[in-house]
């Protein structure tokens, strides 16, 4: 058998490894990438099991086919992505070409190349996801690819596939201390080394900078986590957990939008904080915009991130949030917001032209009863509360003048319906009002005591401005569904929206599901907090705790090299010690064997070796025989012979150099 040609087993292992490495990519790459990759691997499999022809000099037609697929793939890549540079295009190129390469593997060199490209494909997976499942899958792939390298180097096929896999796993497990050391000590760089291509940040779900009726109720279908909060010490009541996001001022009758950027950051809000201080750390998932959702209302800018306040109280990061981000804040749930004056009251009274006539009529009717803003607010809330308004997660589709239709006909709505119609009513009555979007509530995970805020906790509420009291938060939804605010979204959600459909029939199963999910969330959270968040800051903190004074990269490199040397020294001394522990007879015999120009094979017995050596050193035959006999008697015989004779004989034995 020619050892340079990879065996069937080696090829199958490689294809398994590559398929698993490419698997996560198929979910965000175009279909044809998968089709080409799969058909190329299929071709190779057919060649293995059904002797299909592979492209080669003997099979020109196959070669031609192979080349045309490669050209086709390049054309498809260019049409799909426009170029071959960038994260998505680059990864697609790697995937397709790796598939094509598999068909071409003829020698061990090709095989090595595909293996190493496979490792590279593993790395590209972390461009997209660094989650636990993905990391686990990639660990398995690395084990399989290592198995491939072993199987290629096992020309004699002394190991079967299972033992090869076992050996690969052992090797990787042995590498773990080294991996940990590099993880902890390798100098971290803030931000990516090179500019990530623009397509690296694709759309994520989350709160947007505008609102139309029905938008937030779409969001609440999502169980995705928006952010996590850990309170240090006291935690506010559930009904006080308002996490401020975009503040919406302007309405065209359908869509609500923010102030323009200039107006937004023209002045700073004037806040007077009262009552208890709550300190917390938030870990915000990437959402590509700038909002840092903060508990109303922070008393200072956050630690751990560069940010600023807008005049309507939003906390904005200086850079878009492309990565998971951690920040520390302290907040007071009681506060006064611009109590004396507010420069943009006109924006808070804006009404779309010639719209919502019936709503305006209702407001006029109320105006005849009272002129006081707070009484008007009360009238509106009572209206929502006393009339047959319903809070529902699936409001009917509204047509025509949506606010009028909602207020006077359907009367079934979600938080944004109540917030929007309340705002129109108040503005029509001359009370400055704005909509605040963000999240309300959250759910404590009993496993690790983190407060988890999900997309489904998205909420819209309002603020009215009253002279002398500033902006006051009014939540019209609370007038209709008080428990939504007091107990959180979880109590509103029907069981079948909180757990998979199959489990919703049984309470126990649904609860079990909840427990499992809590545990998984906690695990995922600690993964985020300890592994993925281990950047320059955390590294510095951790290393100074370990006793490294003012850690910098030079120091880290020194520590790294010192600890690496220590580990290697430990391993080599272990090996040395094991050799020392060999019976002295064997040790002596090894010394004897090492005196010759030829090596003793591991499976060669003493007589066979002596016979072989005597042919090379005919003049030393007698001496070799004598030593060999001593050794045999000592090691295999039953006579009590002194080891010193052997020691002496070997010491004085000096075969000539050949």
């Amino acid at each position: 058998m020619n050892s340079t040609v990879p065996t069937k087993n080696a090829l199958l292992w490689l294809m398994l490894g590559l398929s698993l490495a490419a698997l996560p990519h198929f979910s965000y790459q175009p279909m044809w990438v998968f089709v080409i990759f799969a058909s190329m691997l299929g071709w190779r499999c057919m060649a293995i099991w059904h002797a299909w022809h592979l492209p080669s000099k003997q099979h020109r037609r196959m070669q031609w086919l192979h080349h045309s697929i490669a050209v086709l793939a390049t054309v498809l890549l260019l049409t799909s992505y426009g170029n071959l540079i960038g994260r998505d295009a680059g990864v697609a190129l790697l995937t397709v070409m790796l598939g094509l390469k598999v068909v071409e593997i003829r020698s061990s060199r090709d095989y090595y190349l595909s293996c190493f490209l496979g490792y590279f494909l593993v790395v590209t997976n972390f461009f997209y996801s660094q989650s636990i499942p993905n990391a686990t899958l990639m660990f398995i792939v690395v084990t399989i690819l290592t198995t491939c390298l072993i199987s290629l180097n096992d020309a004699k096929q002394a190991l079967n596939s299972r033992s090869q896999f076992k050996l690969a796993s052992q090797m990787l497990l042995q590498a773990i201390p080294l991996m940990l050391l590099l993880f902890v000590l390798f100098p971290r760089i803030s931000g990516p080394l090179w500019g990530l291509p623009t397509d690296a940040h694709s759309a994520t779900t989350g709160i947007d900078n505008n609102m139309t009726l029905g938008k937030i109720s779409q969001l609440i279908q999502s169980n995705e986590i928006a952010f996590r909060v850990k309170f240090n010490g006291q935690q506010p009541a559930q009904s006080e957990l308002y996490w401020r996001g975009p503040v919406l001022w302007h309405s065209d009758g359908v869509t609500w939008t923010e102030l323009d950027n200039e107006t937004k950051s023209a002045t700073l809000p004037n806040i007077l904080n009262l009552g208890t201080t709550y300190n917390y750390t938030a870990t915000l998932e990437a959402h590509n915009a700038r909002w840092l959702f903060a508990l109303d209302f922070p008393n200072a800018l956050p630690l751990g991130i560069k940010a600023h306040f807008t005049q309507d109280g939003q906390l904005l990061s200086d850079d878009p949030l492309r990565q998971r981000q951690q920040y520390e804040l302290s907040a007071h749930t009681q506060y006064r917001f611009n109590e004396d004056n507010n420069s943009y009251l006109a924006d808070a009274l804006q009404l779309p032209n010639n719209q919502h006539p019936r709503t305006q009529q209702l407001a006029q009717k109320w105006l005849q009863q009272t002129q006081l803003p707070l009484e008007l607010v009360q009238l509106a809330l009572t209206h929502f509360n006393q009339q047959d308004f319903y809070y529902t997660l699936s409001p009917p589709q509204l047509s025509g003048d949506t606010i009028d239709t909602f207020l006077f006909e359907s009367r079934r709505g979600f938080c944004e319906h109540y917030a929007a119609s309340f705002t129109i009513l108040m503005r029509a009555a001359g009370v400055p009002t704005r909509i605040v979007t963000g999240y309300q509530g959250g759910e404590i995970n009993p496993v690790d005591d983190f407060l988890v805020i999900r997309q489904r906790d998205a909420h819209a509420w309002t603020e009215v401005w009253v002279k002398g009291q500033g902006w006051i938060r009014i939540d019209p939804t609370a007038a209709v569904a008080k428990h939504r605010i007091d107990q959180g979204m979880n109590t509103i959600m029907p069981l079948n929206m909180r757990s998979p459909l199959m489990l919703s029939n049984s309470r126990q199963l649904a609860e079990l599901w909840q427990t499992l999910r809590n545990n998984w969330d906690a695990l995922d959270n600690s993964w985020n907090q300890w592994i993925l968040a281990y950047g320059p800051e955390l590294q510095k903190e951790f290393l100074s705790k370990l006793g490294m004074p003012s850690p910098n990269w030079q120091q880290m490199v020194i520590w790294l090299s010192v600890s690496l040397s220590i580990i290697l020294l430990l391993i080599s001394s272990l090996i040395f010690y094991q050799r020392k522990r060999l019976a002295p007879v064997i040790f002596l015999y090894q010394k004897f064997c090492n005196k010759f120009a030829v090596n003793r094979k591991a499976s060669e017995g003493p007589i066979d070796f002596a016979d072989r050596v005597k042919q090379l050193y005919p003049n030393n035959s007698a001496e070799i025989d004598r030593i060999n006999k001593l050794y045999i008697n000592l090691h295999y015989g039953n006579k009590s012979v002194s080891i010193d004779d052997l020691k002496q004989a070997i010491k004085t034995f000096k075969p000539p150099r050949i």
Partner: protein, 303 residues
């Protein structure tokens, strides 16, 4: 001196069996280790002659049983016949009551007959109708077997193959030996003239001497490594049993005796290893059996 006896035995055998020193040495090893021998090869390569030569040289009583498919156990073991005069059953011993049995073409007989022979081999006694008859000592069986690819054979199952200490293949003689054979005297005549070199008592002493050859712990380590490798490497369907390990040690002891040593060396184990294990191991892959066993020997390091 045991060694002079052994040299004389081998010389005597080699005058009849030409150019097969290794095979005759292994065959003698097998007998000195009190093991039964299975010879597998095509007809006409002196399987029977070898058995006969060994019997004559060692001064053993010899019986040959030609196995056929219509043979019954009684044809081997013997029968009880009613004696009208004494009104009793008298046991008439079968051909197995001898010191060296040549079971020719053992795989031509039905499994029932085969197992009668193999039980007798194992127990070294015959039980018929509640009566136990001891077989003479020393007692050997040399069975010959045609390659199981030939038609009309009942291959011996693994459990019964295990009763044989060794399986040997004789193989064709080399050109020189074959020429000497073709030009020389008739082997049957030579056989008749062959004198016994030792008595069966001496043989028993030699067997005792073999079992007294020293086995050092270091050697047991090596044998255990070999056994472990057959079990763990995944090359074979099943690894070697402890009984096979014991067989290996016994065979290595008598090989060491024949080679004139007082202790077993790894070389002795290696010399007998293929013959002792090749009928007990089945290779998983398309490798040929002997290749796999040779490779196994070269892979296991001597501790």
């Amino acid at each position: 001196m045991p060694h002079t006896d052994i040299t004389a035995i081998l010389q005597s055998i080699n005058t009849i069996i030409l150019g097969k020193h290794q095979v005759t040495k292994l065959a003698l090893t097998c007998l000195l280790a009190k093991g039964h021998l299975l010879i597998e090869d095509v007809p006409g390569v002196a399987k029977t002659t070898l058995a006969h030569t060994i019997a004559n040289t060692l001064g053993l009583k010899f019986q040959r049983i030609q196995f056929t498919s219509d043979m019954l156990p009684a044809d081997i073991l013997g029968v009880s016949i009613f004696d009208r005069q004494t009104n009793t059953f008298n046991f008439h011993q079968g051909p197995i009551f001898t010191q060296l049995v040549l079971a020719d073409e053992v795989n031509r007989a039905t499994p029932r007959t085969q197992s009668a022979l193999l039980e007798a081999m194992e127990e070294r006694q015959v039980s018929i109708e509640g009566q136990t008859y001891r077989l003479p000592a020393p007692f050997f069986v040399i069975a010959t077997q045609n390659p199981s690819t030939q038609i009309g054979t009942f291959p011996l199952p693994e459990s019964q193959l295990d009763r044989f200490l060794m399986r040997l293949k004789i193989g064709y003689p080399d050109a020189e030996a074959e020429r000497a054979l073709l030009l020389g005297q008739d082997r049957r005549q030579l056989l008749e003239q062959l004198q016994a070199v030792i008595s069966s008592d001496t043989l028993i002493e030699l067997q005792k001497a073999a079992s007294n050859i020293h086995i050092a712990p270091a050697l047991v380590d090596y044998v255990q490594k070999l056994l472990a490798h057959t079990r763990e490497s995944g090359i074979f369907h099943f690894g070697l049993s402890p009984r096979a390990g014991l067989a290996l040690l016994h065979a290595a002891q008598s090989w060491a005796l024949i080679s004139g040593r007082q202790q077993v060396l790894p070389e002795d184990v290696q010399a007998v290893f293929p013959s002792v294990v090749n009928h007990r191991l089945n290779v998983r892959d398309e490798h040929s059996q002997s290749n796999a066993i040779e490779e196994l020997l070269s892979e296991v390091a001597i501790p």
